[in-house]
């Protein structure tokens, strides 16, 4: 009996360690982009504008700018911010889950790594949503579906211009409050 309980505890411990180790990669994902940083951003912005479902661009941030101003190098990183009142509304109106405003606006990060390639960083909205009950799970599943369309590109279309003048900050500024759709 002792061996059985010991084995059970060991199994739980192993699973806990595995979950701990994999949690990061489960909650966020990284996909390579076939385009440069600016073109990837521009195509994501174009997809967001065409997505419907209340989606709107609310900002484009450059988190590396502050580091450069301190005299350090960072490879390019731009963060596209978008929001949909269709999804943010129910969350912001419900006191019990209002704290999830911390997740707003939705962010998609586009960055270059030292291998010279460009990547897209995304939050796994479906998984994170599933941690907060049925209502949030349902909403975030729809967000995840839309998000997948944001990063699906049609290379036959010409590169659109990157939109810098969206509310909440510009590509050249590291600060600035988000506004707009949220």
């Amino acid at each position: 009996m002792g061996k059985l309980i010991g084995g059970f505890i060991a199994g739980v411990a192993v699973v806990a360690v595995l979950v701990w180790a994999m949690a990061g990669s489960l909650m966020f994902r990284e996909v390579p982009s076939p385009f440069g940083v600016e073109e990837t951003v521009a195509r994501i912005q174009q997809n967001i504008q065409a997505a419907g479902n209340g989606w709107d661009l609310v900002g484009l941030r450059n988190p590396g700018k502050a580091i450069e101003q301190d005299g350090g190098n960072t490879l390019p990183v731009l963060m596209v911010e978008a929001c949909s009142t269709r999804y943010s509304g129910p969350i912001l109106k419900n006191d019990a889950i209002r704290f999830l405003s911390i997740l707003m606006p939705c962010k998609i990060s586009v960055y270059k790594k030292s291998d010279g390639k460009v990547y897209i960083g995304l939050m796994n909205a479906r998984l994170i949503g599933s941690l907060f009950g049925a209502e949030v799970s349902a909403l975030m599943s729809q967000v995840a579906a839309d998000q997948a369309r944001f990063v699906t590109f049609d290379p036959t279309k010409p590169a659109p211009p990157m939109i810098k003048g969206t509310p909440g900050g510009a590509a050249t500024g590291a600060s600035g409050a988000a506004a707009g759709g949220c």
Binding site: E68, G71, G116
Partner: protein, 542 residues
């Protein structure tokens, strides 16, 4: 608005404007360093009688300069800045802009009136230019400190004498230069004067080199530790030491593997524009001695310039001339920009690809390129290397160097298998940018170059290598070990050197894994036998 932000916006605006130009010598912004240098001068040029006259042309100013600086023009006339030619001392081959079809605007031949906006002279409009006339040497383009001296395409190297709209139809005007003011304000060269051509080569800011663009006029430490305006504040001439107007450190006569201790400034130095000239060939402290060992095979630039074009300006990675003359849906010329606002297409010139923060490509390099020159045969079934970097892993004069490799497509004669000189710039009936007719443009260009043309042309893939040596990052941003010592690392394609982490001797791997397998197998066998024998023992005891 912060000064960094202003600088970035200004650089972006300048890049956008210049993207539409072909070959423009930008006005040299009045640099604080040059002004300071002028104020330290033992001569106040505004007090010289010879410089107080109302000059009408550049050559008039030069004549006045030569009144005191009697040997200056003769010295300049022996430099590449004047001849646009270099003779390789080893092969005797004539190189330089006059003899090479580069991967950008291709050749100045038959396009002199435009290209000579970046010539240190006046009046080179065709092959009849007299290189011996001293008055045609342009002193001001390198020594202006006012930032008002500007040379535009189409003027054969003369500055703007009369206010005019440029680019035509843009609504923007370039003011006429005040030659007397410029002549009286003459000073040392500056990042702005050198950069007016070297930052803007091939028609737009940052196009050509990859490690040279207008952001270096006032760079921060992160962009270039040596030129950092708040730090060392080097000018170009700090490294590119000049004697008798001969500027050291040309791409045509590089040394890729300088050895020996650091030199004192002021001492005769064969390679003043090398890292080793100041840092020596063992630059790291004793506790980092392993890095000094690397210096025997790896150029300083490989680790200390992790990416080039580290700014919003970026650099051009390819130029596809085969797309030139393609018109818009309405049959009229069109132009387009990429997502970052850089030039992407123009019916006159073709298609471009740009990027920023570019990871270099790495090659063994001994400082010498083997160039294709005018009339050299090519193999159109393969990519034509305009210049091939020399060097090998075994050679003592070679190092692993970072390169910008610019790719493209160029026109070639499909019968004679030679690259083509096309007459692109100009308003005449045969200029490509005027009539969009390749045949006429090639006919005129090849005739001017003295090359045969079969009448048939096609396009061939080309590439041109540029050694990366500017935009040295702070030491904290140098490459980390794992960026090379890993599978799929930076040096993945560099052969001829054993790289721990990247390379693994198969035999040693096999021996190691065999030992692991035997150990594991032995342990398992031991365990199985123990269990079996214990059971046997128990059954016997029972």
């Amino acid at each position: 608005m912060s000064s960094r932000l202003k600088l970035a916006l200004a650089a972006l605006a300048a890049g956008t404007l210049l993207a539409s130009l072909t070959a423009v010598a930008m006005p040299a912004a009045a640099p604080t360093s040059a002004v300071a240098a002028a104020s330290n001068s033992t001569a106040d040029h505004s007090k010289f009688k010879a410089l107080q006259q109302p000059f009408k042309t550049g050559p008039e100013v030069t004549k006045a300069c030569l009144g005191c600086h009697t040997e200056a023009a003769k010295q300049v006339q022996h430099t590449k800045h004047w001849t646009w030619e270099f003779t390789d001392p080893k092969t005797g081959k004539k190189l330089g802009k006059r003899n090479i079809i580069n991967n950008f605007c291709t050749s100045p031949i038959s396009n002199e009136k435009d290209c000579m906006a970046c010539h240190a002279g006046y009046g080179w409009k065709d092959s009849s230019f007299d290189f011996s006339v001293e008055a045609n040497v342009d002193c001001m383009v390198c020594h202006d400190t006012t930032g008002t001296y500007r040379k535009l395409p189409g003027d054969a190297g003369h500055p703007v004498y009369q206010r005019r709209e440029f680019p035509p139809g843009s609504g923007k005007f370039v003011e006429a230069v005040d030659l007397r003011k410029v002549a009286q304000s003459i000073g040392k060269t500056s990042r702005s004067t050198c950069g007016s051509c070297h930052f803007f080569g091939a028609g737009a800011n940052g196009t050509k080199h990859g490690d040279l663009d207008a952001a270096l006029q006032n760079p921060d430490k992160y962009l270039d530790v040596h030129m950092d305006r708040k730090g060392l504040n080097f000018t170009c001439a700090t490294c590119h030491q000049t004697s008798g107007h001969q500027v050291a450190g040309s791409r045509y006569e590089m040394a890729a593997a300088v050895t020996g201790p650091a030199h004192m400034r002021g001492k005769a130095d064969a390679e003043p524009a090398s890292c080793q000239s100041c840092h020596g060939d063992r630059p790291h402290p004793a506790q980092l001695a392993k890095l000094n060992d690397h210096a025997r095979k790896v150029a300083c630039q490989t680790c200390h310039i992790p990416e080039y074009a580290r700014d919003a300006i970026g650099t051009e990675l390819s130029w596809d001339w085969s797309q030139a003359t393609k018109m818009g849906a309405d049959g009229k010329p069109v132009a387009a920009k990429d997502s970052a606002g850089r030039r992407a297409f123009d019916s006159k010139k073709g298609a471009w690809v740009w990027d920023s923060y570019v990871v270099p490509e790495y090659r063994w390099f001994n400082g010498e390129f083997a160039y294709k020159t005018l009339g050299d045969k090519i193999d159109p079934s393969a990519t034509v290397e305009i210049n091939h970097p020399g060097g090998s892993p075994a050679a003592a004069d070679s190092r692993i160097w970072p390169l910008k490799i610019h790719r493209g497509k160029q026109a070639y004669d499909t019968e004679n298998n030679i690259l083509i000189v096309a007459h692109t710039a100009g308003e005449d009936d045969t200029a490509l940018w005027h009539n969009y007719d390749w045949q006429k443009a090639i006919g005129t260009g090849m005739k001017a170059a003295g090359l045969p043309y079969s009448g048939k042309y096609g396009f061939v893939s080309t590439e041109m290598s540029w050694p990366i040596t500017h935009m040295v990052a702070p030491k904290g941003d140098a490459l980390a070990c794992h960026q090379c010592h890993s599978e799929n690392g930076r040096l993945q394609g560099v052969a001829g050197v054993y790289l721990p982490g990247r390379d693994r001797p198969r035999m040693l791997d096999m021996i190691g894994w065999t030992i692991v397998a035997l150990s594991l197998g032995g342990s398992m066998m031991h365990g199985i036998l123990c269990v079996l024998f214990r059971r046997c023992k128990r059954s016997k005891q029972a």
